[in-house]
């Protein structure tokens, strides 16, 4: 067995201070993710990460599957990663859904799952004495999932219901149009829910669902994350017991590369019912990286230019009160993601004004340098915001999961935050110049159809 342990000091401040006196390299040891952890790889490729914490009695068990809607490469088959988030609770050879539910209840467990472009995460927090039983239920779903054609149909109906429920929200539509406009080849062109025509066809694709399971529910796609009142040896022994016989797969999805955008794109969505109008201004951004300064610069820029402390936010939301909500930035993704600013405007006649203010702000950051003190304060806020979010074992596991899906190690967090420290005002300006170009731009607006005559040339 390939086995290595990364041990990091996560001890009292006192220890850090003491170390600082001992070693000149110590200041770099002040890491934003400072918990000690261990990484072990089972022979079949499944990774096990254990993070013991002081938090007593509980364990947060996260199963991070490196499969999301990005992996849905075949035409007509979008939405399957998310469908599995549902199917995985349909029982296995050993446990009926009711029996699995009973184990969860008796463990006092809080359990759920979510899917994004790049990952599916199954998470539960429960009393440590139930780790063996909980892992048994989970391992059976991961290796011996069993659902009938009828159960499959019921679940695809639930997914369609979820799409319908979400579709009442204009943001879902806005996001859907933004994605399919900005991406032409890459699977990021569809959302995690999938195309509606594919969701409607799902009930006919029972056999394909087995194929999907067979491809991606394999040890090499999965990382187990155990955080809390646990020890490495204990977790590893249980992982071997429950997952040791799991066979490695061979499938690797060929994700189509997205060609460079060549011209600005504009779309408008007519919304059938009354709603406040929306405007989104997006650019092709960067993929997640813990070594590329420009990708890190975009994160800082998102806070500086469009965060709640930004001049634009203060102006549009607080002073002029033309905008109800505004948010901007890009998610951490395997492949280049959109950097998008989304604003909910209070009056349809202000949509163009708001759009132009957002565009002007993008331009301003490509032309001028941010003050060094504001950059420092923002860098600090991001760092401590992350650190303060980790206030329980499940919060720590939840914060780790996206990074584990991207780089398979908590260490990437420290590399990413160390990179923020190196980003200068010039780097931010360079990143803005590189990404926020006209041919890289997509603008989507949405407003109530009855008001479409007031759209004012959108």
């Amino acid at each position: 067995m390939k086995k290595f342990a990364v041990l990091m000091l996560a001890l009292a401040v006192l220890c850090l201070y003491a170390a600082a006196q001992d070693s000149p390299a110590a200041p770099q040891e002040k890491k934003v993710f400072s918990y000690a952890y261990s990484i072990d790889d089972l022979p079949n490729g499944m990774r096990v990460i254990t993070v013991p914490t002081d938090s007593p009695n509980l364990v947060a068990l996260y199963m991070v599957v490196k499969t999301g809607s990005r992996n849905e490469v075949e035409p007509g088959k979008s939405g399957f990663a998310h469908l599995f988030e549902h199917l995985m609770f349909r029982g296995s050879k050993k446990y009926t859904p009711e029996q699995a539910e009973e184990v969860l209840r008796r463990a006092g467990a809080s359990s759920n799952a979510y899917t994004t472009d790049d990952r599916t995460v199954y998470h539960a927090v429960f009393s440590k004495e139930d780790l063996d039983r909980m892992m048994d239920v989970q391992a059976n779903a991961f290796q011996h999932l069993q659902y009938s054609r009828d159960a499959y149909k019921t679940e695809t109906g639930a997914v369609l219901g979820e799409y319908n429920k979400n579709s009442a929200n204009p943001i879902s539509k806005l996001y859907e149009v933004l994605r399919e406009t900005a991406y032409t080849k890459h699977t990021y062109s569809h959302t995690t829910m999938g195309y509606i025509k594919d969701i409607e066809d799902m009930p006919n694709l029972y056999d394909y669902s087995l194929e999907f399971y067979n491809r991606y529910y394999r040890p090499e796609y999965v990382t187990m994350l155990a955080v809390g009142d646990v020890q490495r040896d204990q977790v590893l022994a249980l992982a071997k017991k429950h997952y040791g016989d799991w066979k490695r797969g061979s499938y690797v999805a060929q994700i189509p590369a997205e060609p460079p955008q060549t011209s600005p794109q504009v779309r408008h969505v007519d919304w059938p019912t009354p709603t406040l109008p929306w405007v989104v201004v997006a650019y092709r951004g960067a993929a997640y990286s813990d070594s590329d300064k420009q990708a890190a610069a975009l994160d800082l820029l998102a806070n500086l230019a469009f965060g709640q402390n930004s001049d634009l936010y203060q102006k549009l939301v607080l002073k002029e009160q033309k905008v109800a909500t505004m948010d901007g930035g890009q998610d951490m993704r395997v492949d280049p993601e959109l950097f998008a600013v989304m604003a909910r405007v209070k009056d349809v006649k202000d949509v163009n004004y708001v759009r132009d203010q957002i565009l002007a702000t993008y331009k301003q950051f490509a032309e001028t340098l941010v003050p060094a003190d504001r950059l420092a304060a923002t860098r600090s806020r991001m760092r401590y915001d992350f650190a303060l979010s980790m206030d329980s074992s499940s919060a720590i596991a939840g914060a780790l999961a996206p990074y584990i899906a991207l780089r398979s190690t908590p260490e990437t967090i420290n590399r990413r935050y160390a990179l923020y420290e190196q980003v200068s005002p010039e780097d931010i300006r360079e990143a803005a110049r590189k990404f926020f170009t006209e041919h890289n731009q997509t603008v989507v607006t949405l407003s109530t159809k009855a008001n479409s005559s007031e759209k004012g040339g959108l």
């Binding site: 002081d54 938090s55 206030d391």
Partner: protein
């Protein structure tokens, strides 16, 4: 590793006094008590708990305790304006907040250990050296009035109903007899001098318990204690919180408000609080009947799952504000008097009377039949483990540790485990008979057609339910009993109050 949990009453200078105990020395005044949870976490959590609250509001000055706390946590210190404090906290990504209940006012904040010195200096000055500026005062007072007028009266029927229920059980003359935020009429008259006086009288060393958790440096706790010795020594104050005897019979208050639904809260005082003999048994009963936000409890199954009447139905033996937003209760709401409460989430007004009857019917059934062996055992197993979920964060652990100090119990998960392991089905069913009396029920309802509902209640005619989907025959049969269930209220027992008049 298990948490190192210690409660230490630190007498200032006691260590040095101990070392040289030969000659008798003048006894130092007792300093603030401490509850310390040293952990390896780089997050340092403060909970500065003062044993004072709205029960100490002087008559005619209701709301003063809340306003005083807000003048410390949401306003400037003498050395920094409120804007400067916010600006300083931005790069630390932190804040400092207060929560005021009947007998506790707690100040809460968490910082990363990197910023401990800067953060502590700011919050220490906020509490020990408040700015008491007029502009801050006007702002927090307006916020308090708006909380009563806008937030409670006209935008949150569920919280409104629950708070009205408490004012029905505790009369205006009782220390618990007004909502923590005060009354509109008294708040408007409060002055900055009132705040100064309340601060001087109640923010004392005797009232303070310093709660501290995380990897704080060695000796830091002693420094905090030394700093807070600047407060006046004071004397421990206890309010007489015992619930007044309830007039037997059912009393109903219907708050009339323009709203699309009907919110219902029912309850009565129980003279058991955490740490007392029968409290664990009552906690089991409440969890079985209506564990907060859990779909597996009994009332939820009957009213929501089987009948689809509303979004959820829960039961409590401790005060639990903000239940519509929170899954776990906030700590540091310690009280010496509690009520047993049933919370029926808003229902369609046309099913309002039926739902009220269903809640009373199920409650009476519980009192009559008690719990079964099977439900007792599964609830006990759930609750024992759920204690761990309640104390999941370091901040919650510290909060619960302070509450354990208040109630004189061991740390919460341990207390629950020990108590539950000793508990028998007989204990629980005996507690049901002893404490869950049906003959002094108080009911608060928020609805639009208050007069119509009042007539319906008093007429005691059947109130059939309207369902939107087919129901099993067994449910329809039971509905016949429910819809005719007698509500034993007489004309004078059912009052209608316009929403604008509550908390006035």
């Amino acid at each position: 590793m298990s948490i190192r949990y210690c409660i230490a009453l630190l007498l200032a200078g006691c260590l040095t006094a101990f070392a040289a105990d030969a000659a008798p020395k003048p006894k130092p005044a007792p300093g603030p008590a401490t509850v310390l949870l040293p952990t390896r976490s780089p997050l340092i959590t403060f909970r500065l708990l003062f044993n004072t609250g709205s029960a100490s509001d002087p008559q005619g000055k209701e709301g003063l305790a809340s306003l005083t706390a807000a003048m410390l946590s949401d306003a400037g210190s003498r050395t920094m304006t409120y804007a400067q404090i916010n600006e300083a906290m931005y790069p630390m990504a932190t804040s400092f907040n207060s929560q005021v209940d009947k007998e506790m006012s707690v100040f809460v904040g968490t910082t990363h250990s990197d910023n401990l010195e800067r953060y502590y200096t700011i919050i220490r000055d906020m509490v020990l050296d408040p700015g008491f500026r007029e502009d801050d005062f006007q702002r927090v007072k307006t916020d308090a009035v708006n909380f009563l007028k806008v937030t409670l009266r006209s935008s949150n029927d569920e919280e409104l109903g629950k708070e009205v229920l408490y004012t029905m059980i505790y009369p205006p003359t009782h220390p618990y007899g007004h909502v923590n935020a005060g009354r509109v009429s008294t708040l408007e008259k409060l002055t900055l001098d009132d705040v100064r006086n309340f601060y001087k009288q109640h923010y004392t060393q005797a009232a303070l318990v310093v709660g501290l958790a995380g990897a704080y440096p060695k000796g830091f706790e002693q420094r905090v204690v030394a700093d807070f010795r600047k407060l006046p020594a004071g004397k421990a104050q206890k309010v007489n919180a015992a619930a007044p005897a309830q007039k037997p019979g059912m009393q109903i208050q219907i708050v009339q408000r323009q709203t699309r639904s009907t919110a219902i809260s029912l309850g009565f005082p129980i003279d058991q609080v955490r740490g007392q003999k029968d409290w664990p048994a009552l906690a089991v009963v409440a969890s079985y009947l209506g564990q907060h936000r859990s779909s597996s409890s009994y009332l939820y199954q009957q009213l929501r799952e089987l009948r689809g009447l509303n979004y959820g139905d829960y039961a409590y033996v401790e005060y639990f504000p903000q239940g519509m937003y929170r899954f776990e209760p906030a700590p540091n709401l310690g009280r010496r008097s509690q009520i047993f409460q049933i919370w029926i989430r808003p229902v369609d007004p046309k099913n309002g009377l039926f739902t009220l009857r269903a809640a009373l019917y199920e409650y009476d059934k519980l009192v009559k039949n008690g719990m079964s062996k099977e439900t007792f055992e599964s609830t006990r197993e759930f609750l024992g483990k759920y204690a761990n979920v309640l104390t999941q964060t370091q901040d919650a652990q510290l909060g619960y540790a302070l509450d354990s100090n208040f109630y004189g119990t061991p740390e919460f998960p341990q207390y629950m485990r020990e108590q539950l392991s000793r508990l028998t089905l007989e204990d629980v069913n005996r507690a049901i008979k002893k404490y869950l009396k049906s003959d002094a029920m108080r009911i608060a309802i928020v609805t639009e057609d208050a007069e119509g509902l009042r007539k319906g209640i008093l007429s005691n005619l059947p109130s059939p339910v309207t369902y939107t989907s087919p129901k099993p025959q067994s449910v329809l049969e039971e509905d016949k009993t429910i819809q005719a269930y007698t509500i034993p209220a007489k004309d004078a027992d059912v009052k209608v109050v316009p929403a604008e008049q509550v908390f006035e």
